[in-house]
Structure formats: C-alpha cells, structure tokens
Symmetry: D2
Subunit: 288 residues, 4 copies
Amino acid sequence: MSNHTTPITACLLICCPDRPGIVAGVSRFLYQSGANILDASQHSTDPREGLFFMRMEFHLDELDKARLEATFQEEVATPLHMEWKIDYSDQRKRMAILVSAYDHCLLELLWRWKSGELPVEIPLVISNHTKLENDCRAMGIPFHYLPVNPDNKAAQEQAAIRLLEEHAIDFTVLARYMQILSPEFVGRYPQRIINIHHSFLPAFAGARPYLNAYTRGVKLIGATAHYVTNELDEGPIIEQDVVRVSHKHTVEDLVMLGRDIERQVLTRAVKAHVENRVLLHGNKTIVF
Amino acid sequence: MSNHTTPITACLLICCPDRPGIVAGVSRFLYQSGANILDASQHSTDPREGLFFMRMEFHLDELDKARLEATFQEEVATPLHMEWKIDYSDQRKRMAILVSAYDHCLLELLWRWKSGELPVEIPLVISNHTKLENDCRAMGIPFHYLPVNPDNKAAQEQAAIRLLEEHAIDFTVLARYMQILSPEFVGRYPQRIINIHHSFLPAFAGARPYLNAYTRGVKLIGATAHYVTNELDEGPIIEQDVVRVSHKHTVEDLVMLGRDIERQVLTRAVKAHVENRVLLHGNKTIVF
Amino acid sequence: MSNHTTPITACLLICCPDRPGIVAGVSRFLYQSGANILDASQHSTDPREGLFFMRMEFHLDELDKARLEATFQEEVATPLHMEWKIDYSDQRKRMAILVSAYDHCLLELLWRWKSGELPVEIPLVISNHTKLENDCRAMGIPFHYLPVNPDNKAAQEQAAIRLLEEHAIDFTVLARYMQILSPEFVGRYPQRIINIHHSFLPAFAGARPYLNAYTRGVKLIGATAHYVTNELDEGPIIEQDVVRVSHKHTVEDLVMLGRDIERQVLTRAVKAHVENRVLLHGNKTIVF
Amino acid sequence: MSNHTTPITACLLICCPDRPGIVAGVSRFLYQSGANILDASQHSTDPREGLFFMRMEFHLDELDKARLEATFQEEVATPLHMEWKIDYSDQRKRMAILVSAYDHCLLELLWRWKSGELPVEIPLVISNHTKLENDCRAMGIPFHYLPVNPDNKAAQEQAAIRLLEEHAIDFTVLARYMQILSPEFVGRYPQRIINIHHSFLPAFAGARPYLNAYTRGVKLIGATAHYVTNELDEGPIIEQDVVRVSHKHTVEDLVMLGRDIERQVLTRAVKAHVENRVLLHGNKTIVF
C-alpha cells in the first residue's frame, strides 16, 4: 500500500559471541531481503570475553516487519547465538520526562523536540513541583503533578508507573529529577531510564556535586548522562563533558556554568539512545 | 613457514558506486578466505554522487597475499567496479620527513616512533638546514642536508626525489618545511605528502599565519594537517584543532602555543595515514 | 537615603597612554572615595603603541555619582589623558534583539534573561518575520514586526532606529538577523551592535558559511560573535568557539551542530558586553 | 653597574586580610619606588573568609633588592598584615626532576627548557632507574641514579634530600615518579613539589587510574597536576585537562592518549609555578 512513500529505515542491534562470518551472515541476509545498508558499526571486545556488537542501519523499500524478523531469527540469529533487536523509523520512541523545579534540561529537550532535532513522541511530563507546568502546556505537552513526601513516595511512584504504562512509554529521562527512584521502579526499566548527574562521575557522586567540586578546587567541572541502575550514580555512562573553571568562580557560578554542560550532555545522550546507538556491555556502554 | 607467528592484520580500502550488496560481497569473500573482520567502517556519499567507501581490517592466519588479491579482484572488485588497495601489518610504511630549522614537529614524530606509537620505518630526514642533524643522528635516523637557494632549488628537489626513490619511501611528511615544493614534485606523490600548516585553514592560508591571526584579533588559533596539492594550502584536510588565545598573547606567544597544536594535529594526521584510515573523496577526506 | 540597601557596584573602564603611576593614581582615588576594589584587570599594549587599558569593579556604600565622576575627571583622568566610562549595577543595560526566523539564538538569550543570568532589560524584539512573535509575547517581551523588502528597506531601518531611540536602547544583538544593516545604521551605534556569524571568522565570511565549510571539508566548524562595523564580518571579534565535525555530517548536520555553538558564543559575548568586560583597541577587543 | 642592561622584572605575591586601600597602598609604593606595573591580578575570597590575594609584575630600571624589600615590609606589609614574597627575573628558579622509567613527561620538560619556553635551571634529574640517563646526559643535565627497594628507601630519600639541598633546588617535579615520598620528605617542601597524576582527580586517585577508568567506562580521561601533600593525591590542584575516549579504546590506548594530556597538564602547571602565578588558599590554588 505504502510503496510510494519514503522508504522506512530500520536499525538492527546485535550482540553475539565473536567468530568469523558474522558480518557476512548478517549482510548477506539483508542483501537477500532487499535492504540497502546505510551505516554499519561494529565492536569486538578483547578475546577473553569474545563478544561481538554491531549496529546496522538500512533502507527497505517494502517491508514485512514480522516476516523479516522471523526469518532473521531463524537464518541468522539462532545459528550465531545472537541477542538482537530492531527498530523502525516509522515508530517514534515514546519519551517521558521526570523533572523537579530546574527548567534548563527540560526546556532544552523540549526545544530540540520542537525543532525536529529529537524525533520522539513526548506523551507526558511528570513533576513533583508545579513550577514547569506552564512551560510544558505552552508546548502542548501533558503535565502531571505528582508531589512527593516521605509518606506518599511509594504511592506516587506507583502512580508514575501507571502513567508510563498507560502511555506506552519506551524510555524515561530524569531531567534533574531530585528524587531517588526505588529499586522496584528502576528494576522495571533496565536501560530505559536516563539520568543527568551534575558532575564528572565517578568524581562527586551523590548530593551537592558543585559544592564538593568547589571545595576540592578542581579546574574543570562536568556532567554525566547514564542509565539508572540501583547503584546510585553507578550506572553505565553514556556521555560526559566538562567545562573549565577557576578560583574566580563561586559555587553559584559553577551551578550556572554547569547548566550548559548538563543540557548538552543530556541532549547528546538522549539523541544517541533515540538513534539506537547505545549498546550495553556489562556496566559499560558502546556508543556507535 | 611463519604459521606459528602473530597473524598478519590486513587493511582493505575500497571505493565504488553505491548499490546494495557491497558489504555482503566483501564480507562473504573475506569469510570464505578464512579472515576474521576486526573493524569495519563505511560511508555513503549523498545519492547524487552515489559513492560508497569502506575500510575493513581483518586477521588472516595463513595468507597468500598475491592469491588473495587476485581472487578479490576477480570475484568482488571487478563485478562491483571497485577501486581498492590493501595493506599488511608486516610491511611497515616507509616515511620520509622534510624539515627546516624548527624542531618541534620533527622531535614529536621521532618520539612517537621511538615509543612504538607510530609503526613506520624512517629511512631518512632531509633538511635545508643542518640544525637538526644531531637530533636525528642521536635517534639513529640518517640525515641528508640539501641546502636550497634560488639557483639550486630545482636541482636539490631532484636530489630529494632521488633519495625518496632510492629509499622506497611510501609517504613524506613536511614537518614545518619552509619551502614550497614544485608542481612536479607534488604531482609525483598524490596523497603521499602530508603538510602541517600553522593556522585553522582556510583562515590565514599562506605566509605568516600567526601574525595575521594576531592582527585580526581571533580568539582561537589552530593548525591544519593536509595532503599537499598544487593549490597552496588548499589540499584535502586530514585533521585540525585549535587552542584558545586572548589579547594578552603576543605574536611570540601565539607561535609558542601554536607549536603544541601543530605537534598534536600533525601526529594525529600521520597516525591516521599510517593506519590506512584516510580516503580521498574529491578534495575532501574521509577519516575512518 | 538608601544606605541600608545593597551597595552599588560600579565598573570603571579606562584607556590612556601607558606610564608609571596609573594604577596608583586610580586606586588612591577610589580608596579616598571610600570604594572597595572587587576586581581589577589591566593590559598594556606593546611599547610602540604604548597604551594602557584597565577595568576596575568596586563597591561604594554611599555614592554621589555625578560628584564621583566630576572629581575623577579632574583629579585623575585629565592629568593622565584618559578616556574612560563608568557603569553602575543599579542601571541595567537596555538590550534590543533583531531576529529573522531562526529561533535558537533568540530563545537562548531570553532563557538566560529569564533565569537571571543576563542582567539586562529587554524592551523590545524587532523582526522581519512574524514567526517568533508568540515566543516573545509568552515571555512578556514586546515584539515589533518590520517586514523588509528592497523597496521599503531604508524606511524600515528608520522605523527600527526610532524604536531603538524611543526605548533608550543601550545595545542591539543581531540574533541571526538575516539582513545587512546600512552604513548609516551601523555608524550610529559604534561598539553597540553585536552579531553572531555562523563560522570561525575570518574563514567563511559572507553568505552560506556551513555550505562552504562542508565543501572545503574542514574538521571543525565554528561561530564568531563580533561588533558590527561597515566592513561585513570584519568587526572586532568578541568570542569564538568550534565543534568537531567529520565526513559523516551533511550540510544539514553542520547547521544543527552549529546552532549549539552559535548559542553559546553569542551568550558569552553578550554577557561580556553586559558586564563591561570588552574594550576596543583598534579593530581588536580586550576581553577582561 | 648594570644600568644599560634589560631592566629586571619583579613579581610580588601577597595575601592579607581584605580591606579597602590595599591596591592603592601597594601601587603607590611601587610608583614611588620607580616601578612600572606590567601586569596585576587580584582575588578576594568570600566575605566570611575575607582574604585578599594579589600578584603584581613590574619593571625596575635600577633595583636595590634588599632596600626595596625592607621598605615594602615596613611601609606596606606590616601595616596591612601581609604575607608576601617577591621573585626577580634575574634569578631563575632551580628545578629538580624525579622520574622513574616513563620518558614522556621528562622529555617534554627538557624540550620546553631547551627551547627557552621554561626559564629555569635544571641542576639535576634523580631516578630510581637508569633508563633515562642517556636522554638527560644528551641534554647536558646531570643524572643521579638512586635505586629504591624496601630496605634502602629511607636512606635513598635522604640521599635525594642531600642532592636537592646541595644544588639549592627551589622546587621538584615528579615526572611520573612511581614512588610515594615519605611524610618527612613532603613536609620539608611545602608547595615545592609538583606531581602529575594520570587521572582527573578526585576520580581514580591511587594506583592504576587508567585501568580503573577503563573498567568504569568513562567517556573522558584526564590528568591532574598538583602540589604534593601527605594526603595521597589530595594536594592542591594546579591544572587539569581531559581527552575524549570511547569503547574502542583498550587500557593500552588510554595509557597512550593519557601521555599527551599528562605532558600538557604538567607543563602548564610547571610554567604557572615558575612564573609565580600560583598562590595557595587552604587546600586550593589561585592561578593568576
């Protein structure tokens, strides 16, 4: 029916034991399926681990997704003991944002989305403050206010989970969300929650990183975007960057300079995730 | 004979009209030849040009180079209208260095070579000054003094060409060589002469870039490594970088700060060339 | 009357022939006036030019501005042949923004202003498009639509000048304003118009810098904020920065990556101007 | 006698309680002494601490150092409760280098020294290995071999101290010296020992930082130059920088990339120290 429209782009991610013939096997399969490979990246771990990772992006003029996937499983993935997944450009990822009262990361994501730079759906923003409600509504993004206190924290997390499920959210961004999520919440969404931490991890994990950076007298401050795990600030790092500071800067200056780095680092991490460029290898990422 | 030694790594570079099946064709060939692909990168130009570029690095336990190359030509390259070349890790590239009186780029290359970071042979250094002779001899590098004046310039270039030919040089680095090479010299070595220019090209092409940068009041100065062509400072750019400067810096300060950038940019470009990571696409480079 | 409130900060900028005793003269005057110096920076040009530049920021508990200035002129500035000006923290600079249809630089400036990072008044935005009207109104900024075509260009510039004068604008930011201002307009506001050019000047001056950067195959793209003069893209540079690009990036990618650099470079330049950190020395800036 | 030679440059560093009149007092004194201020920088800590730091560089045509210093103490320093010190350009600092078997930091410092970029005397290099002896001797630098084992460690440190004292060393650089110095040694030379640590401190303090950075999967690696104190890797940071890495890099690659950052960071820190730009404020540095 849709054979006159823009061809769909698919993105295949695989992980399997390293051995000769993987690229040949996958690329022959794609060729025989009528695909044209647009981009390919691969990575082999050191021989003791012996793992092979690959990302292949390809066009298909006509595409029977279910059949493609079933055939791939049978002819390629099973023989080569692959873990794999595939995404298609006609199915935008659905991103939720959790935010507290700082606006910079939220507004940056919304601006990137509005400008077309971030090809996602944003079905909802959830916040424990009302401060950013107007900013969301002005962009047409539904805003859910879930205030949190020690007594209702578990219940509000359940409410948040229900919202994420109802809206079929693919992944969640913590855009300076100042609450620690429960192990239950985190465990439910492996490699599907991205956090921005306002330091160059592993330096200054935990609370008040800018104050600690100031106290230590470092000459660069940074930000780190990572997948959330149940080890606080210990999840797989997706992206990091730094900016130069000096003795002239107060803690408030570090907070201000840090905002720029936070915005950029979080954006790059979210884009990499959305473009299916991030694979996990233990507690580390491969970012193609 | 050598089947108990480290396997040879080969690096295949190809350029051909873009069409489906190239990756499949090359990777099947390599698989059937017993190769294990270590790294692969590819690039497609925009559809109007329709060109495909690829670099594949692979191990082969036993290798009959002549046979591999002949079979590849017949079974893969001819049907797909490929230009290609292959390099092997057991044949180190032979690098010549042309230098005048500035030592920083020369010493950097020699130190990288001595430390094993730059896997090349350096059969000779040619200079129009004697100043760096001792530095070369101390490292065991033959030094050839070819002083240049307006009367002997053509003859000395012929002498240099003879030296490059006698020593079977693969490529030449101009490590701040303060002479313009003749069209004959340049034309003889396409994509085989790397120059370091002390500005962020195309800004401040030509003579005295640091003085011109100072006069213009730029806030960053840079360096550019490029292949030499007969358009002065217009050849394909391999690598560039910059460093921040301010009103406090004199021209002499820019020269000093620029040395650090020149050393780094030239080193990265030479490494990319030595590792067969640089392909040409018109007057631009693809650096895998 | 206001001696229980926050003390006013003043910022003094001077330029004079270099000679011994200038720092002593100025600092003694300030001390005797009851000021406490918070920050001081100075710069001497090379001896042939023999110029001295200084910026001093100081607190004054009680301040009779007119008297301070008259006394300074008489006791310090006249004897030392100084050009000078002084700004006070209780008089925010009034900034106008001229913009066309690109939103990124405008929104960045408005967000910095809203967050308190940019201590200015923004009495108006002028645009030759209506596209950004809603964004301005949502922030409470008056928006003036002055469409431009070859026939009305001079008249619309006069209308713009009237608006700037009516609103007592101190300086104007061209936030990707896609019109060339007339010599009359520019000449009226020396060192009072800041432009962001989307290249690393002097490379790629003029139109279509991203296309030209793409065509040349540079490995870094940049942005430059400068004061506007009647030499197109030749005015004094305030700030520049770059970002790494590669053969993978299309022209559209460069435009997208460039937006981030444009936003940052323009912001830093505007902040430096607002904080009275920028002095002119011929066609160059001193940024303290 | 020397009144026809280049005037001496002096550099005055002061720290005192913040109060109005300090700049006026110092600059008046210098003016009356016939000095011309070349550069001045100042820093006030936050009001609770209330400290003022200043660096002033000045020319003096004729200079009676002892008298200048005595008068300064009496007329300025005592009334203002200053700690201060002064250095003169005709007395080059005497720098010792302690090194083990890695050559990159040592060679970088020696090259900077040879090129005139680092205006110091280098009366000796001390090493617990012989590997770098020839490199030192080729540059005319005396090399002392003090091998260290658990039994002789204390004695060899005493020998090192004797060498430093005999040669009237002003400060010592640990250019990747792979031994931990005793509290006695360190306590003897406060703010006079500079170390280069191969990580972005406080991340990856202690042993094997590149391995730990690899294991954690960071996206940037760094280096930190700091004054040595008896808290391992906790001394005041002078300079830091980072370089981007990815999943492609092995630990060996990090070591190689890190060498470039180590060389640059250590060089910048040593230059700042030599130029009297580094003041201590608690466990932090002010780098003017």
